[in-house]
């Protein structure tokens, strides 16, 4: 099982998972009871126009054919056309991907930067009051819903102190000019509300990963040969703990994406979440299908990357003998 083969297998599994996920999404939207055309036109609509709409949207074709054409289209970026505006879904989705991507990536980086030291502190000093405070803080952060944190931040910083706008979003580049100030101003509160939750979740995993490392024999050996507790942690602890922390970062991304969808509503940010929710209320199911597919695709890509990074960090896997 050399490295090449392991990577090939992981890619195969990724492709298969993507296919299964797309089938699941398609089936939930199209196979469940309730006819899409009548739903769009409203239940009172006369059967003739309903039938005519079904024809236009191609809903009369068998399920499998429609699924295959959807997947076929997706492979070269065509997510189909909106039932309402007939606008290509990918055109509608593309600009919003960047918005949500900014929110998620910055939040992920910040929560990792906050969680690593917090988690390490909580682990190394677990028997002292600092350790207790650190783990209590992450415990509380874990329990607050992201949108509630958002609202609280708005009440304090926007309504109360007027430091930051309560909602809205400005692109980094608007008509060619760079607008970093406004761009960041609008992102501070949304990112903060996501980071409070994500950093706490991550800190708990970092803490347990480091507590596990602290109890390992090789950590005791490191101290026995002359490293102090903190130096031993940096030289031997971080790489070993990274193995379990990396998987968590992958898993957390799915929840972070979801958090972003909700936070977008609190701050009225025109991201994928907003587009998805309006598509749901307009019952523009092809758009719903497309956006959910994009989100799931993002998560599966990240899981693939975390799996592969596993190989880089843990030599035991590289040696061919998978753990």
């Amino acid at each position: 099982m050399n490295l090449g083969r392991t990577v090939a297998v992981r890619l195969l599994v990724f492709a298969a998972s993507l296919l299964v996920a797309s089938a699941a999404i398609f089936l939930v939207i199209n196979a469940l009871p309730g006819d899409i055309a009548t739903a769009i036109l409203g239940f009172g609509a006369d059967p003739a126009s309903v039938a005519q709409l079904r024809l236009r949207l191609g809903l009369d074709r068998p399920l499998v054919v429609r699924y295959l054409s959807w997947v076929g289209g997706m492979i070269h970026g065509d997510l189909g056309r909106s039932y309402l505006t007939n606008e290509p879904v990918s055109a509608l989705v593309a600009p919003r991907v960047a918005v949500t991507a900014w929110l998620v990536v910055i939040s992920m980086l910040l929560s990792s930067l906050v969680a690593l030291p917090l988690g390490m502190l909580a682990a190394v000093k677990r028997r002292t009051w600092q350790g207790a405070v650190a783990s209590a803080a992450s415990q509380v952060g874990l329990s607050i819903p992201a949108f509630y944190a958002g609202i609280l931040l708005v009440v304090v910083f926007a309504v109360g102190l007027h430091w930051l706008p309560a909602n809205g979003y400005t692109d980094l580049v608007v008509a060619g000019t760079w607008r970093p100030a406004q761009f960041l101003q609008h992102l501070v509160l949304p990112v903060a509300s996501l980071v409070i939750v994500q950093a706490s979740v991550l800190a708990r995993y970092v803490r347990s990963a480091f507590v596990e490392v602290l109890n390992e024999d090789y950590f005791r050996t490191a101290r026995a040969v002359g490293w102090t507790r903190w130096r031993a942690l940096w030289r031997h602890g971080v790489r070993n703990a990274a193995i379990s922390v990396v998987t968590v970062i992958g898993l957390q991304l799915a929840t972070l994406l979801v958090g972003a969808i909700v936070v977008e509503q609190v701050f009225r940010i025109p991201g994928l979440g907003t587009a998805l929710l309006s598509a749901v209320s307009n019952r523009d199911l092809i758009v719903v299908q497309g956006i959910v597919m994009v989100l799931v695709f993002a998560v599966l890509v990240i899981n693939l990357l975390t799996d592969l990074s596993y190989l880089l960090i843990d030599p035991r896997l590289r040696g061919g003998r998978a753990r």
């Binding site: 415990q139 607050i144 598509a279 599966l300």
Partner: protein, 270 residues
């Protein structure tokens, strides 16, 4: 210090359940009765926590809101446990390709957090508390499956499993008499953590209006309504969010407390 965490957890969870039960028989005011003349009154007397935009007593709405929280949490977690645990035990005991299939399926399911699943269901069959519960339940199956599988794998390495087989105990009896009791504590930890996640998901769904048509609006919906008066009466937006956070905190502390009583070997599976 650990003990304190466990008991705070138990206290908070008991408080939420008590609120749900009390609201079945009594609430300070009628939680459905709109009083246009009494809108946005501050906390104090007679409305302990004040009134919301519709003039309804906030405390009463919180009490009945607890009902949905407990109801959705219990149903979703039971659905997830019923779906995930047998799968996890099967994967842990049979190993080989069964184990790999279960792992792959849970990986894919992990890409569908509760909210995404609920959005899909809402789009397909319309939003309701039932679709929310089903979505949260299905989305929590992988967590139970993974924990049950990890704990079962550890139990399967113990010699008492081999000893059972050597004394003629069938595989089915072994799973019920030996595996389940030994992983029960780990599942207990997962249940409380999943309950907390379910509450957060339900709150998000009702905040987004994807789970409301329940007679009494859940806490998430209250938070959504409160947001429209954020500038005029910001304080009343605190209470529903606080109720959500405290119940989730209670469940997480309960989970942590239980995890510390676990047999050290099983602790890393939790």
């Amino acid at each position: 210090m650990r003990r304190a965490g466990l008991w705070t957890g138990v206290f908070l969870v008991a408080l939420v359940i008590l609120a749900a039960l009390v609201s079945l028989v009594w609430t300070p005011y009628n939680p459905l009765q709109v009083q246009p003349s009494q809108t946005l009154r501050p906390a104090g007397w007679p409305h302990l926590l004040g009134t919301d935009g519709f003039g309804i007593d906030i405390l009463s709405r919180l009490l009945v809101g607890a009902r949905t929280t407990v109801y959705v949490g219990v149903v979703a977690v039971s659905l997830a446990a019923l779906g995930g645990v047998p799968l996890g035990i099967l994967a842990g005991m049979l190993g080989g390709w069964v184990s790999q299939v279960v792992l792959r399926v849970t990986d894919i399911l992990y890409a569908f957090p509760a909210l995404l699943l609920a959005i899909l269901l809402a789009a397909a069959v319309g939003a309701s508390t039932t679709t929310a519960m089903v979505a949260i339940g299905i989305a929590s199956i992988p967590a139970f499956a993974r924990v049950a599988r990890a704990a079962t794998l550890i139990v399967m390495t113990q010699d008492y499993i081999l000893a059972a087989r050597a004394s003629g105990t069938s595989r089915w009896t072994t799973s019920v008499r030996h595996v389940l009791p030994n992983i029960a504590a780990v599942l207990g930890v997962q249940a409380s953590v999943s309950f907390g996640i379910a509450i957060l998901a339900e709150a998000a769904l009702s905040y987004l209006g994807l789970a409301t048509p329940h007679p009494h609006p859940p806490w998430g919906r209250m938070l959504h309504d409160a947001q429209t008066y954020i500038f005029s009466a910001p304080v009343q937006a605190l209470w529903p969010g606080l109720a959500i956070a405290l119940s989730v905190l209670g469940l997480n502390l309960l989970g942590d407390g239980l995890r510390d009583h676990l047999d050290p070997r099983l602790r890393e599976a939790a």
